[in-house]
């Protein structure tokens, strides 16, 4: 059969074509990347808002069911994406409780799924970051005349690098995830005329889901291109996280 030489050629040819797709900003590749960033970005921004509020509530106030909530968050940090996808699907499907909103197979559905996946992680890591701020800092803010709100805001500020790390962790999980968005997003592309040329334009197709389908269909250059972009993204996220961690130590 094919020798090692020709398999290497096959791989190189794929990579070269992939790089070409990226460099000349192929509209299809670009649109898939855009959808990925938009979906994961919006989901993580919403998650971050919720997570900081939740983490603040848990860290700064006493209420009934607090420990239960904390346990729920900790156990939700490792939710399997496919299961989340299924649950979101069951809610959003036309026959589901909020099916009338007609959100299934839309970017909104994917945002919801990723929001559910990212929120517990960002919350959990943020709580750890907040609670690692020494009690003395809280007391200092209080004794300098801060109200409960002033104290909380200052502690959040002190924990900012930890919270940024938490958000990056959430984003990392969101962009790496494929199971949930494939189920609720449907991996849809539209055919549109762009500048007079018929183009595939992603509607709910993301880098991860695109890699899955392009590989299955034998479109190796596209799959490699998406893989490269995804890797660059995740390297970038991890690089920032590392930089933040270094800064917080230094």
């Amino acid at each position: 059969m094919s020798g090692s030489n020709s398999s290497l050629e096959f791989l190189f040819a794929g990579i070269i074509q992939a790089v070409d797709l990226i460099v000349r900003m192929d509209p299809y590749v670009a649109s898939v990347t855009k959808v990925q960033l938009m979906v994961s970005g919006v989901a993580v921004i919403l998650s971050a808002i919720t997570a900081i509020a939740l983490a603040s509530a848990i860290s700064f106030s006493e209420f009934r069911g607090k420990e239960l909530l904390r346990t729920a968050i900790n156990t939700s940090m490792g939710l399997p994406p496919v299961a989340v996808g299924l649950v979101v699907f069951l809610f959003l499907t036309r026959r589901g409780p909020i099916g009338f909103l007609d959100l299934i197979y839309t970017p909104a559905a994917m945002i919801i799924a990723q929001y559910i996946l990212a929120t517990p992680i960002i919350t959990g890591v943020s709580i750890t970051a907040i609670e690692s701020i020494p009690r003395k800092v809280w007391d200092t803010a209080y004794t300098l005349g801060g109200t409960k709100l002033d104290v909380s805001l200052q502690v959040l500020k002190e924990a900012r690098l930890g919270i940024i790390t938490a958000i990056l962790a959430g984003f990392g999980r969101a962009i790496a995830e494929v199971g949930a968005i494939l189920t609720v997003g449907g991996n849809i592309v539209h055919q549109l005329y762009l500048g007079g040329v018929l183009q595939d334009v992603s509607y709910t197709r993301t880098l991860t889901t695109a890699i899955t389908v392009e590989t299955r269909q034998g479109n190796i250059p596209e799959a490699i291109a998406f893989g490269i972009i995804l890797l660059i993204l995740s390297f970038f996220v991890n690089f920032i996280a590392m930089w933040v961690r270094k800064r917080s130590v230094g």
């Binding site: 026959r95 690692s132 020494p134 009690r135 449907g186 991996n187 849809i188 592309v189 299955r216």
Partner: protein
């Protein structure tokens, strides 16, 4: 002071959690490996029993014992489409063939495009697919030889009960597609395409070609996945789609499936363009000398024979005939 201690405690707990997670994953990994290992061992043992059954070792004939277990059963690798595989037809055809030639048929189910690609890479001996144009190209490029028609069924156009494009009962698929496109442009309808270079997708494109319309716009959704995923999406969004009759028959009785058959295919007297012929092609041994050409030819002989055609004709799902013999 207490705060610091709390944090220390918390860190301790975190570490404990990490440890727990680590231990759990190691445990899980081990279990998985054991299961996989057991699976392999199980497979080996069943294979050896299988050969043991066909060739029982006879104690007082030592020469045989030496020879027989070493002889490996011949293997035929068939790249085929998900529709033949999922329909269960191969579960009827292959056992008969295996018994006849004392061989093993290994089925690689993929979309038509991918199935052809597998054969082009030399990883199959035989393809059994439905995309006439691509099949011809496969032969013309020298990858395949001896293409034969095997059978056909047909495609049908599905859509919501409300039928905003008003295609119900139309006898021209192209006409129906034109209506769908018009309704789509007007924002009243959506269409869901497999978009995966499968046989169904290839047929869909052929119909669009016949309309002279290039489908474009947000109403035209390309899913890039299998028939099942496409039907799920079309059903959820109450859109139109093209489906092979076999899959439709299996899906129409599913809970919550609301799409209806709006345009018939040729099996029920509809537009001939919706005919879905299945061809079978042996991989050219001149291209890939290590393919099992002999066995591939035997299989082609078998499915196009009277016996094979009879099996196809009599195969039923939910009481309905799925495939129609077409060998000439």
């Amino acid at each position: 002071m207490t705060g610091d201690r709390d944090i220390e405690n918390m860190k301790g707990i975190m570490r404990k959690d990490m440890r727990e997670i680590f231990l759990k994953s190691v445990l899980l990994g081990t279990i998985l490996m054991v299961i996989l290992g057991a699976g392999c061992i199980g497979k080996e043992s069943t294979e050896s029993t299988a050969s043991g059954v066909t060739n029982p070792p006879v104690q007082n004939e030592p020469a045989h014992v030496q020879d027989e277990p070493i002889k490996v059963q011949e293997k035929l690798r068939m790249a085929t489409t998900t529709s033949t595989y999922d329909s269960g037809l191969l579960d009827v055809l292959n056992p008969v063939f295996q018994q006849k030639c004392n061989c093993i048929v290994e089925v690689i189910p993929k979309g038509t495009g991918a199935a052809i690609q597998t054969a082009k890479d030399g990883d199959a001996d035989l393809i059994f697919v439905h995309a006439r144009g691509k099949e011809d190209a496969f032969v013309n490029e020298g990858y395949g030889v001896n293409r034969r028609d095997v059978m056909y069924n047909d495609f049908v156009i599905l859509g919501p009960e409300s039928d905003p494009a008003k295609i119900r009962g139309m006898t021209s698929a192209a006409e129906a597609f034109r209506n769908i496109a018009a309704a789509g442009m007007a924002g009243n309808a959506t269409f869901f395409s497999r978009g995966d270079n499968s046989g169904t997708h290839t047929k869909e494109k052929a119909i669009w070609d016949a309309t002279g319309i290039v489908p474009s716009g947000t109403w035209y959704n390309s899913v890039g996945k299998g028939m099942g995923d496409t039907l799920t999406a079309a059903n959820e969004k109450l859109g139109y789609t093209l489906a092979d009759r076999g899959t439709y028959i299996k899906w129409k009785s599913k809970e919550g499936f609301e799409l209806q058959l709006l345009v018939e295919g040729p099996v029920k007297g509809g537009d001939p363009i919706l005919k879905n012929p299945y061809g079978i092609i042996a991989v050219n041994p001149e291209k890939y000398p290590d393919v099992n050409y002999k066995l591939a030819m035997e299989y082609i002989e078998f499915v196009t024979s009277k016996d094979g055609q009879e099996l196809i004709k009599n195969y039923r799902v939910n009481g309905e005939q799925l495939f129609f013999p077409d060998a000439k």
